[in-house]
């Protein structure tokens, strides 16, 4: 069986769903970052596959941008996470409710 565009898109969708559930269910901030990473990479797979399918490099370029931005975002996020952990000794999401309305 040849691997086609559909397979990639299904894989992307499954990964995105996993990421989404992770984002909603996880209470650990570090694992939340993991879940975000899964979400972004699910989209990257879709970009690359569709780009290849159409023979247009724009989608792959977009994937590179996403990777670069995800990396920088993670660097900032991890920095904040460490500071938070040093202050409060926990990275449980349920304890972070200072923005309560």
């Amino acid at each position: 069986m040849e691997i086609g565009l559909n397979h990639y898109l299904v894989l992307s969708t499954i990964l995105f769903a996993i990421g989404l559930v992770g984002v909603m269910r996880r209470k650990n901030l570090l694992l939340l970052f993991f879940a975000t990473e899964i979400l972004l990479n699910a989209v990257n797979i879709a970009f690359a596959a569709i780009s290849h399918y159409y023979g247009d490099l724009t989608g792959q370029m977009f994937a590179f941008f996403v990777i670069a931005i995800a990396a920088s975002e993670l660097a900032v996020g991890l920095g904040l996470l460490i500071v938070w952990f040093k202050r409060h000794g926990t990275i449980d999401l349920d304890t972070m409710t200072s923005m309560r309305g």
Binding site: L20, V23, R25, R26, K27, L93, M96, R100, G101
Partner: protein
């Protein structure tokens, strides 16, 4: 000349604004002095203008600036000093100068001293705008200005409930009349295309009588409000709650005569519609009698003088309505002098008696207040129209014009009223200054007013005595503008019988008043005497039950109606709608604030839910657009 005009017009404004700077500070004597000086400046400028008019006879006309200019509408801020307006300017500035100086003494101990002068000067400015404007729009501005200042001054002691009530009553009654006046002004503009006096008067000749009649009626409604003619008269007596100098200036000498001024100013209009003129004259004669009858029994010194003012305004309207405009204006002038004097004298008495207003509780005051007694007696003689004081010449001219015009009913009503006038004036004088010293029963120790107040009043006394001799000079001046009809009774015998008869009648009334009220048997009425229980007395003391009627049938029903609108319409519809919108927003916010738990997982869940919601909407709309033809077919099959 233009500069003189501007000085005369604007120095009261400067005075008002200057005094207004100090309204929040304690009493400052110099404010009264500076305000008086500025008003006096205005008086001096007006005198120069009068001299100019007397010598050259040409009016001074200036156009200060354009006020409104859109399309065909052009209304400038224009001012004119002609024979009619200069008369009014002289009366206004002279009386207001005297009242300003008098008020320095009268308001001596009042906390609102500075505020009082600000209002009083503002009034003078408005009145000057009213009389000097060369068009109906400017006149209306002044008209509203004097109404506002009158409101502020009647309610000057706003801590008294009754004063604020009277102020509102005056304002609202004038508002009703001003609507009529405004309609009249609109009609003038609509039919003539201009509001300038000269342009409008020239165009009146080409209009048909029905239109002119409507214009005349509506303008006169405005005049009825300002001059307190029946049935809008109740506010004038209640306006006596204001400080007495205010009553002297506004509610005797100047503002209330604005209605007469309007009719005199529009003489070319009223000449074309003699029927309306006759109505004005009849109403004037009726009010003269009606007000005089109420003054007969009243027990409030200021109200008696107020009714007397009302009655004299009736005389002026009677003259103006019969086409004797210059006579009306002459009586206006003479009346301003002796009535202002009478009010200021009453102010002295009030001060001496610690604000006691019931003349029955006074008596014998001539010993303590000789100067005031002399002034008030002479003012009353002038008011009664005894030769050779001012009132004789002006009132006699009105009687003669009614006689010459063959309106004998009006003539006899006015003649009878002249007798009543003499009676109630001297009833007041006798009760205050003669007889037993009844004030001793109430433990009051009266004292004469400050000397400078008495000196300030003396020019009025002088004019009340000699104004009559100016009659022919005045006639020659003012008839350059007004119809020059001399009202002479050609038959000498009739003339002498009439004049002497009138004088005898008036003197008899005075003697009767003295006989009845200047003796030692007068006591403070306690409501038990036969006269006080008679029907006529009750009718008169209750002002023909007209205030009662207004209160019972108009005010109360209006209040009920307002209550219904308030409870049913305002609360249940308008407020409910607004409150409902606010309530929905508020409760939505209250219920959805739980979303803002601050918990990141919860918020992310909401975000996902929102994304899914938007996506599904996009899908639904996309499908609907794609299959719109099919959906429309199904819907039409269902009969939608």
């Amino acid at each position: 000349m233009e500069n003189l005009l501007y000085i005369a017009l604007f120095s009261p404004l400067v005075s008002s604004l200057f005094a207004a700077l100090f309204t929040a500070t304690p009493k400052k004597q110099f404010i009264g002095i500076i305000a008086s000086l500025l008003i006096f400046t205005s008086f001096v400028s007006s005198s120069f203008l009068l001299a100019e008019i007397l010598i050259t006879g040409t009016p001074v006309h200036v156009e200060m600036m354009t006020w409104m200019a859109t399309g065909n509408l052009y209304i400038p801020f224009g001012f004119v000093v002609d024979q009619v307006s200069v008369t009014m300017m002289m009366v206004v500035t002279l009386v207001s100068t005297i009242v300003h100086i008098y008020s320095i003494g009268y308001m001596d101990h009042d906390k609102g001293f500075n505020r009082f002068f600000s209002w009083l000067s503002a009034f003078v400015f408005s009145m000057m705008v009213l009389v000097m404007s060369d068009n109906y729009a400017g006149l209306f501005i002044g008209w509203e200005g004097v109404g506002l200042c009158s409101w502020g001054l009647i309610g000057f002691w706003f801590h008294k409930e009754v004063a604020t009530w009277a102020a509102n009553e005056a304002f609202i009654m004038n508002r009703i009349a001003d609507l009529g006046m405004l309609i009249g002004i609109f009609l003038v503009y609509w039919n003539t295309g201009t509001l300038q006096y000269d342009g409008a008067f020239a165009a009146f000749a080409t209009l048909d009588t029905a239109t002119l009649t409507w214009i005349g009626i509506f303008l006169f409604i405005g005049a009825m409000g300002k001059s307190a003619q029946f049935p809008l008269h109740t506010w004038l007596a209640d306006a006596m709650e204001g400080p007495t100098p205010v009553s002297a200036l506004i509610h005797a000498a100047t503002m209330v005569t604005a209605g007469v001024y309007l009719v005199v100013r529009s003489n070319e209009l009223y000449d074309l519609i003699p029927n309306v003129g006759l109505f004005i004259a009849s109403l004037g004669a009726f009010v003269a009698l009606f007000a005089a009858s109420m003054a007969l029994v009243n027990r409030d010194m200021k109200r008696i003088i107020a009714y007397s003012t009302l009655s004299q305004l009736g005389y002026m309207f009677a003259a103006a309505g019969l086409g004797a405009y210059w006579v009306a204006l002459f009586h206006l002038m003479a009346h301003a002098f002796f009535k202002a004097l009478l009010f200021l004298g009453a102010g002295n008495v009030m001060h001496a008696m610690h604000d006691e207003l019931d003349p029955f509780k006074m008596g014998g005051l001539k010993k303590k207040m000789t100067a005031t007694a002399v002034m008030m007696t002479l003012a009353s003689v002038a008011l009664a129209g005894i030769f050779p004081l001012a009132g004789f010449f002006s009132k006699d001219a009105i009687l003669e014009s009614a006689f010459v015009e063959h309106h004998f009913i009006i003539y006899s009503v006015l003649l009878f009223t002249a007798g009543l006038t003499a009676f109630y004036s001297f009833r007041l004088v006798a009760l205050i200054f003669h007889g037993e010293e009844r004030y001793k029963l109430f433990g009051i120790d009266p004292h004469e007013a400050y000397k400078f107040m008495l000196i300030a009043m003396s020019p009025l006394l002088l004019l009340a005595i000699i104004a009559g001799s100016l009659k022919m000079t005045y006639y020659e001046m003012v008839t350059a503008l007004l119809p020059a009809t001399e009202y002479h009774i050609h038959n000498h015998l009739v003339y002498w019988i009439m004049t002497i008869g009138t004088q005898l009648f008036v003197i008899l009334a005075i003697v009767y008043a003295y006989k009845k009220y200047a003796n030692s048997k007068v006591t403070v009425p306690d409501g038990t005497s036969a006269m006080e229980n008679s029907f006529g007395y009750k009718l008169l003391i209750n002002q023909y039950y007209i205030p009662y009627f207004y209160e019972e049938y108009i005010v109360k029903s209006y209040r009920e109606l307002s209550k219904i609108f308030w409870k049913q319409v305002d609360l249940k519809i308008v407020d409910a709608t607004v409150d409902g919108i606010a309530g929905v927003l508020y409760s939505t916010g209250e219920r959805t604030r739980d979303m803002q738990s601050g918990n990141l997982s919860t918020m992310l869940k909401w975000m996902v839910a929102g994304t899914i919601g938007l996506l599904s909407l996009a899908v639904v709309f996309g499908l609907a657009v794609r299959y719109s033809d099919a959906i429309l077919a199904i819907l039409s099959g269902l009969g939608v």
